[in-house]
Symmetry: D2
Subunit: 254 residues, 4 copies
């Protein structure tokens, strides 16, 4: 959900993401630059279409200046969103509805995609970006959400020490990854495959919380798994789990 960028903003995005691509030493895809092949540009002229292919922002990822593909769990019924406007007419767009998702979209494509209709009411706050000192979207989430009670979240903790035992400096990303791995190990005992848990965490209303970010060198994050989404009791107090046959609803590739 977001408003279209101005040409200047689009140029900023392309510059800073290109810099990341050119300077990273990670052996993986670190950003999605404009893609000249298979351009979807409706009935635009060939010239425009080529320009879109060379410069157009792709929908992955969300970006601070407009929101975009932000995948925030509770942006649901009754939410209010305050979006910066960069071009005349705003050019608001929205897409990619999820039936259910957890905090973090852990397996990337794991949230349950759905068809749907969104009812939106749009209004303009004149001078709003300046009045709200606004550099990124603001939200007032809606009042309707699944609500399990704080004591029904089995909560895993991760720190910025990775699975090889390497100490990172206040790294919340490593910490949340570790909390996720703790959860996978826990659920493996019931017969779930790692991949099944990845998908479950992407789709279930898990809560990813910031524990402590500043206790050098260990940032701490927690992942809360609602115990009431299971048909059996996963509480640590319920005794040694029996391995169940969880079927093969999802296959792990290599």
């Amino acid at each position: 959900m977001g408003c279209a960028p101005s040409p200047e903003l689009l140029a900023t995005w392309n510059r800073r993401e290109a810099e990341l691509i050119s300077t990273t030493k990670l052996e993986r895809v670190v950003a999605k630059p404009p893609e000249p092949t298979n351009v979807h540009a409706g009935s635009a002229s060939e010239e425009i279409k080529q320009k879109v292919g060379r410069e157009g922002a792709r929908t992955v990822p969300g970006r601070p200046e407009h929101g975009g593909n932000c995948d925030i769990k509770n942006l649901s019924r009754g939410s209010k969103t305050f979006l910066p406007i960069h071009v005349p007419g705003a050019k608001f767009s929205v897409g990619d509805l999820h039936f259910s998702q957890g905090d973090g979209e852990i397996s990337f494509c794991g949230a349950i995609e759905m068809a749907g209709v969104i009812t939106l009411k749009l209004s303009v706050m004149k001078n709003g970006m300046k009045d709200l000192d606004m550099k990124s979207p603001l939200f007032l989430p809606g009042p309707v959400e699944p609500h399990f009670g704080p004591s029904r979240y089995l909560t895993f903790e991760g720190f910025s020490v990775d699975e090889k035992g390497v100490q990172h400096y206040l790294d919340a990303t490593v910490a949340y990854r570790q909390a996720t791995l703790r959860c996978i190990e826990y659920l493996r005992r019931y017969g779930y495959s790692d991949y099944q848990v990845y998908l479950m965490l992407s789709c279930a209303p898990i809560q990813g919380h910031v524990g402590g970010l500043v206790d050098i060198p260990n940032a701490c994050m927690t992942l809360g798994l609602p115990m009431d989404i299971f048909d059996f009791d996963i509480s640590p107090l319920s005794g040694t789990p029996k391995k169940l046959d969880m079927g093969t609803c999802a296959f792990a590739s290599s």
Copy 2:
């Protein structure tokens, strides 16, 4: 809150944190190694005291293997915590009670410290670490917490693009820092100093959530500020704020 490390675990901590200190290029203190001066070791012998000074873990930070100084907001009345045990007798300790704190302990020392008495019930789960496949603590938070309703959290969003416009790769720490800066800018309009907001965010029951972690290159984090802790209406819908005299309850040093 945690149980004492074994000598092997203590050695692991000292090794991995020393490696971070020796390899970091950041010009700041990145970890707190053992500190031979001003050792607090009770009535221990001089030999033990020197050993504590050379090898003993300091209470900052929390660590995955035992929990420790984990500063999780909702570990309050009625919580259950499952802790790994590393030495005979467990040597459980607890400390550093907070009257109130937010997710992330944003200003490091900002949570409101308090004197207090904790009533704990301890029991041992024989073979528990293996049965729970446990490499870090597990929590079941308690049912009592301040509860404002999802729609009363004014929610700021941060992405892994820092304040200089540099793009980072899926960096949740940068993203949460950016969400915090958005909140500071917002509250500055009411007359709060930056430092006052830092302290407020450390002490108020803010919610730091994981938005999306995997939309390359932009990890996304949100910070939810409960609007009902203010004496005046801070909703974006309440019109242009008047700057108030917020006094000098906290001074910013250079």
Copy 3:
């Protein structure tokens, strides 16, 4: 929602409600006995149809032995209901979906009726009525509901003293009626007609709570009105209300 009564249970209902009708001194309709005219009995024989007209239970009201038209606000998505079974095959039926309703169905027909599809999973607990010592339905509400936070309910209080100043003895019905009247008076100041408030309270997610039932002679009930369903601030702290033109979306008859 309920299972069909046995002939014996149906006879019990008809007997006890007929007794109420014959003994009441209230000058109003106090119960809905079987209605021989305009019988809906599908393709049943004339004989059966006449029997239905003479003995059949009407869907108003709910009854303890089977649930029926119970209009409980939170029996929504994800609920589990445990129903007594009185005849072979159970003959479960369900109907009358509400888009939104408040506790108490204050104006009788005020909840917002809707078309809809319910997905149900039915299973039988053998010997369940005896095992659960069950004389009326049990519920486990679902986790999804509008959730405004306890401090956002403006709460009106009623006691068992009626509007003529007559003292009743521990009468919760009078008390809840009084709480409702207090709410109507409060909202009248904003320009709502009494009838508009009646409808609003029937449709909005208000919370009707039992305060104290046993402080002779004054039972106490409370009605919590979520302030966040209004477009303007109805808090007692927001100053003298301006009367608004609330239109004529509902007319009061004499």
Copy 4:
């Protein structure tokens, strides 16, 4: 919690409660009129003391015009209460703190009484009773409460048919009593005595809700019992309960 009545208001209370006493046909104490013996009147003159004995309101019950002994579960930390004022100086008083209580104060003296200190901030709303059209107190409950999630309340339902099978007309008091009896029957299966359950329901954070009040002739009320206050699983899904020895922590008198 309340402000003192004016002489006129006190006379109203005494008149209407005396009328109830004189007209009731119930063979029980139905109200607590002024009590001339054992008057507590501090250092007042003998004349005043006798007047208090003849006319003074006793603290049972709460009354609509001032609140008084209202025993509302969530009037706790952070609440705001708006009270009518009847005499110069208001003469506010407060007392009878409860450590924990359920909706309805089911066993009358069952809430857990406690010593305590209340911190109050008082301010005067000039013309407030008229501005708020106020005939009884208003409340904004506080944000801190035990919170178990809607799906963790085992919910019993009662209708206005009493235990002798007599049909009452829209009687919420009978309905809530029936819901309570259903809960007692349910918990009896675990070995609790009826009296133990009465005390438990008075002290535990149960939720008494208004189901439907207007489906003639059956008012409906629900009682929600939080399952997470038990050390064992009381869910209907957890199988036939074992009778436990619940001890004799409370004795039932005849």
